[in-house]
């Protein structure tokens, strides 16, 4: 884990590439272009950038209307305002109407660490999972953010993608990296225990796997960048082959990645599980690493949770 990159800037640069590839791609702003790094797109394609100010439910409907005319609107702003505040529009205008709109929740999870629960989004995946046909992407490093941004504009149908704001370490080799919606990535193929990470804390899961490997534990590390549709095959195989599953996410443990994996395993292959994330409480505030440490999301803490399961 050497180089770190700004996830928002990475998204903004990738959006320009997506715009180069397809002239139907548009950037939609709720006074959020600077904060979501869509200014690069705006400068290059001013006629394909629309500003609406702060009216997220209205904008979500407007995006659906634009999509009916063949445009591919990419609407990016602070995560809770494009999942919770506008939930009815996400459900009806994008889900029920099956419109080809891409919604990006940035500064997701706890990454507004000083601003508190109004700006944190610990429930966004849980909300979006309940919308039939909604694809949910949660890329885990800058290489994956780039690939996911382009893939979502090529995918036909509504997509919710979340990104954080803290600089992210580069985990993947760009030259050999392949992104496919709905297909998880096995980063380590051990057999004692499986750690499944997603999004901003995939790097913490990877750190925990490294710690455990040094202690002689054979760890399987899986990156689930698509929470819906879930890569059931990959997860069931890991459950059968390692017998222990730990999920790691910057989200409530209910309704998110942990919930999705638990629902799958409960029916298909009951397996010993631990779900690391935030329990039923509003997020606290403070420096980012200290804050996620409150919820056991630091690498050494994840390793300790795994040790508990291996006893």
């Amino acid at each position: 884990m050497s180089e770190k990159k700004d996830p928002r800037k990475t998204f903004g640069e990738a959006l320009v590439v997506a715009g180069d590839k397809n002239s139907k791609v548009m950037a939609i702003s709720a006074d959020s272009s600077s904060g979501s790094q869509m200014t690069m797109f705006k400068n290059k394609y001013p006629e394909r950038h629309l500003e609406f100010g702060i009216m997220e439910p209205g904008i979500t409907g407007i995006c659906a209307g634009l999509a009916t005319t063949g445009k591919i609107p990419v609407f990016a702003t602070i995560a809770p305002f494009v999942t919770g505040r506008n939930f009815d529009q996400m459900k009806v205008d994008l889900g029920y109407m099956k419109q080809n709109v891409k919604v990006v929740g940035r500064c997701a999870g706890l990454s507004y660490y000083h601003l508190g629960p109004t700006h944190q989004s610990l429930e966004d995946v849980a909300l979006m999972r309940e919308i039939p046909g909604m694809t949910i992407l949660n890329p885990g490093d800058p290489v994956e953010i780039t690939a996911a941004t382009i893939a979502m504009t090529e995918h036909v149908g509504p997509v919710y993608m979340k990104i954080g704001s803290d600089p992210m370490p580069v985990l993947f080799d760009e030259a050999n990296y392949k992104f496919e919606i709905g297909k998880g990535i096995t980063m380590k193929s051990g057999s004692d225990i499986t750690i499944i990470g997603t999004g901003t804390v995939l790097c913490r899961a990877a750190e925990a796997a490294d710690i455990l490997e040094k202690e002689g534990v054979s760890v399987r590390l899986i990156n689930i960048h698509t929470i819906k549709p879930l890569d059931k095959e990959l997860i069931l195989k890991a459950a059968k082959e390692t017998g222990k599953i730990v999920t790691v996410e910057e989200h409530y443990v209910s309704g998110g990645l942990g919930g999705a994996v638990a629902e799958l395993l409960a029916e298909e292959h009951p397996t010993k599980m631990k779900m690391i994330g935030v329990n039923d409480q509003f997020g606290s505030n403070g420096p980012y690493d200290e804050l996620i440490g409150l919820y056991g999301l630091l690498g050494p803490q994840i390793a300790e949770t795994c040790r508990g399961m291996l006893k």
Partner: protein
């Protein structure tokens, strides 16, 4: 602006009676329905589908250059089903599936179930934002198509309408024409008592729209007004259409009770007689 001749007006009046008959035919195969708003907007729908909307083609319902119509108050779908079937978008045989399992005619319209429906409305305050997006999208494409919306007056309480109202004028969506079906009643009673949005015209004007107020049952005035839009270059157009809830059925007219009517077979017979009498009168004109 298009001026209806007396003969054309008579023809449209006959169609309006037929559309009301269709509404009754649909509703009587179920047990209830939102009849009040369907009948208050019948003349608006008649004018739209028989004189105003361009390039509406049942054989090619997704024609790119078509004018779009959205019923934002999706509970008024009975009149939408009535008009689309009368125009040939689907068979009237579907009427008797209303309220049946997996019917293509649910209590709110579904664009994936029937041709000719442009959006899935029902949850109030959704139609106008979607229409604004369509209007902007069509302008980007340099299309001449217009977007027409009927909103309920009770629906105006939803904040998203005012978000969309600001967005439409900010982005100069002068290809957008919105009719407020001002029938003055919503589920629980009179709109002005439940939440007063008067002075309505001034509110829309303050949001940057060009506003007119008309008799929403006078077909000549409706066609004049709709075909005169945009009323001002660079501005969206808003028409306050003063109407009677459940217009055309005497015992339901101008009542909140007609908002969601539980069907009574004797009353259906009486309503049918009333519509038949109007149809005969028109035949003799």
């Amino acid at each position: 602006m298009y001026k209806l001749t007396d003969a054309e007006e008579l023809e449209l009046k006959k169609i309006a009676v037929q559309l009301r008959k269709n509404v009754l035919d649909i509703i009587k195969s179920g047990s209830a329905g939102h009849i009040g708003g369907a009948l208050s907007s019948t003349e608006l729908m008649t004018a739209l589908y028989y004189k105003v909307l361009k390039n509406i083609d049942p054989a090619n319902p997704k024609r790119e250059d078509r004018d779009r119509f959205l019923m934002s108050a999706g509970h008024k779908c009975l009149i939408v089903y009535s008009a689309l079937a009368e125009k040939g978008f689907f068979s009237k045989d579907l009427f008797n599936t209303y309220f049946k399992l997996k019917s293509k005619l649910p209590g709110h319209p579904d664009m994936h179930k029937l041709p000719g429906i442009e959006s899935n409305t029902g949850s109030l305050g959704h139609g106008l934002p979607i229409a604004v997006g369509m209007s902007i999208g069509l302008k980007i494409d340099k299309s001449d198509a217009k977007v027409y919306v009927i909103m309920g007056d009770g629906e105006l309480g939803e904040g998203t309408n005012w978000e969309a109202a600001a967005a439409a004028s900010h982005h100069k969506a002068d290809n957008l024409v919105v009719m407020v079906d001002r029938n003055k009643f919503q589920l629980g009673g009179e709109t002005n008592n439940i939440m007063n949005f008067e002075p309505l015209a001034k509110k829309w004007e303050a949001f940057g729209w060009n506003v007119r107020s008309i008799d929403g049952h006078d077909l000549k005035v409706i066609v004049d007004t709709l075909t005169d839009a945009p009323f001002e270059k660079g501005k969206p157009s808003l028409i306050i259409c003063n109407t009677l809830k459940a217009k055309g059925i005497s015992f339901l007219e101008d009542t909140a009770a007609s908002h969601y009517w539980k069907v009574n077979p004797e009353q259906v017979l009486q309503a049918e007689k009333e519509l038949e009498a109007v149809a005969k009168e028109l035949e003799n004109e």
